[in-house]
Symmetry: C2
Subunit: 358 residues, 2 copies
């Protein structure tokens, strides 16, 4: 029999129904989408002290080193451990390059006609009855190209590359959070077409929003109603549970009890930190190391599925930072869209057991 | 510039960013998935007074007439306008057949060992701090095969077939709502593989749940805080707005102001009714007629995409019934999974204009 499970501390449910995994389909069988190919020998980055090989792909890919002119000018680049802001665009041989998304969901300057009327966000929420309400799409939408080398993905990053990437994540979140009109910074990575990526070259994205997403508002309310951090309590349980996948000095990776989809993974720092800015260099590296390990497990055990990776963070000190990984092995359907309750055909206990295997 | 839009009356947002529709992809181009093929001539149903043609597909499809033995015994069948409950399984030449899903997400009887401990649902919600909480997956999961004929889809249904289907929907929701342990009945249709359907033969599904999904709980709370039905107010606005797609005597179809995905459509009865059981026969038919019209528009204008159709209903009289259609033309990605805010690259105004075109 299946089981209806509740989220650790939110009014959020899923149905664990492993029997449904067996159902047949009369649609044409397709291989699960392989994410972008793993690095090939020779496609090493500067940080591993190997020459950057130019491949036919790098000629056409706008994110590749050498094609900087085909994307907007960089906001910042990182090279040899140094951050370049002013004149970033002229820096060659970068290690990580950040620039505004050329197809932005949000953009920095409201057009002049809207500018004076830009309504304050607080008036925009709440239940005031029916009104068609909107504000201009003010915000920032940045692309973070994680490596100059096409096909060089997280799972083959050297420690040096990983350390740099985590620093970039922290810096860019901190940068946008300083803006007086920004209320939330969403940092995420879409890997593979089925995860919504449109380009194969390994990259992350950041959207700085003028409002706190209701999901976080509700979660913070729930946390404030408790007498201790629920994630600290989750950590104490999951570190000993059969859902644990990996542990290192600073964090754990586990399949959450109320997993919405097969092989969902959360990475949780052992120390209570609310965002990347409050992480030490060591903790940042540990988080990245765990992320690389899980992504490698996905490739090894699940044939390299498309996946999304999201940072759940907040500037409110009550919050407890986490990274969440969602491999795209299943599709939400009418039931999920109707009720918000997910049917998951792989229990987190089974998922963890599979990912733990050597 | 894009626009951040708020839901009519909930703390729910989307970003309308049409510029993002232009972004290129370096993944292999694929045709949008065609839903199951439209009826071919000859595949007519009994209700159109044409012979039911047997096709090679109908030999292998478990939902086709003649293959009843390959699914669980029927709970009810409808034939020539008559409902058969007792002995449903022996009725030949049915028009609509309902039976328990052989791969159920929820099942009627908790196994004996769990039965005495089945916890009452009220104790299961609320914010009590961290506990791994679950209840057995009690409930009902029913399949509604809409036609005995393979490939006969909604858009080619005769008025008679449509009238019957809507009656079946109403009857089955009413049936499960009488059960003392059932708190919500989710009725939906997945059409096409990209919408989560595993079989091509046109069918709907019903999940009767022992809990009220939090989404509905929150919506009902919001409605109760207002001094009138917000959907009645939405109707007054949208019936005159550029987002209107179709109107008939009893209902309207429109692209909602805060559309999460391209070509999302809501069908709203003009009369305030909370569920299917309180609809007159005429209203039921009007709803079905509108559903058929929108699905035909999807085929004509969008090359027959996969789609989900969900009934949003409640037994609480404050609620206002709607049908919602989500074509699967885009994928939620990391941003949507992180924030719950959807980026939609086709404004509802443009979507409505496209679907209105003759």
């Amino acid at each position: 029999m299946s089981e209806i499970r509740k989220h650790y501390f939110l009014a959020d449910y899923c149905i664990i129904a492993e029997g449904r995994a067996k159902r047949p389909s009369d649609f044409v069988f397709e291989q699960p989408e392989m994410g972008p190919r793993a690095s090939s020998p020779g496609s090493e980055s500067k940080l591993t002290s190997e020459p950057v090989a130019s491949s036919p792909l790098s000629l056409s890919c706008v994110f590749c080193a050498g094609n900087e002119g085909r994307t907007p000018p960089a906001s910042v680049v990182y090279k040899d451990g140094t951050l370049f802001e002013e004149g970033a665009e002229r820096v060659q041989d970068w290690d990580v390059r950040c620039f505004p998304n050329i197809y932005p969901a949000l953009s920095p300057a409201p057009p002049p006609t809207h500018s004076p009327a830009f309504p304050p966000i607080p008036a925009f929420s709440g239940l005031q009855g029916f009104r068609c309400e909107a504000v201009p799409g003010f915000g920032f939408h940045e692309v973070i190209v994680e490596s100059p080398v096409h096909g060089r993905n997280l799972e083959v990053f050297s420690d040096g590359e990983l350390r740099l990437l985590m620093r970039v994540y922290r810096d860019r979140v901190a940068h946008y959070r300083q803006h007086e009109k920004i209320r939330y910074v969403s940092l995420f990575k879409n890997f593979g077409k089925a995860a919504g990526a449109s380009l194969e070259h390994s990259h992350s994205q950041l959207l700085a929003l003028p409002l706190l997403p209701p999901l976080f508002e509700k979660e913070l309310q729930a946390i404030r109603a408790l007498d201790r951090c629920p994630y600290c309590a989750v950590l104490e349980t999951e570190i000993r549970a059969e859902r644990l996948i990996l542990e290192n000095r600073d964090c754990i990776a586990f399949a959450p009890y109320c997993s919405k989809v097969p092989f969902e993974v959360w990475i949780l720092p052992k120390k209570h930190v609310c965002s990347l800015e409050t992480c030490s260099e060591d903790l940042l590296f540990s988080l990245g190391d765990m992320l690389r390990a899980i992504v490698s497990k996905y490739r090894e055990k699940l044939m390299g599925p498309a996946y999304n990776c999201m940072f759940h963070l907040s500037e409110s000190p009550e919050y407890h930072l986490s990274l969440r990984l969602i491999p795209r092995l299943s599709l939400p359907a009418g039931f999920e869209l109707n009720t918000g309750i997910y049917i998951n055909t792989v229990s987190p206990e089974r998922a963890a057991s599979c990912l733990r295997e050597i």
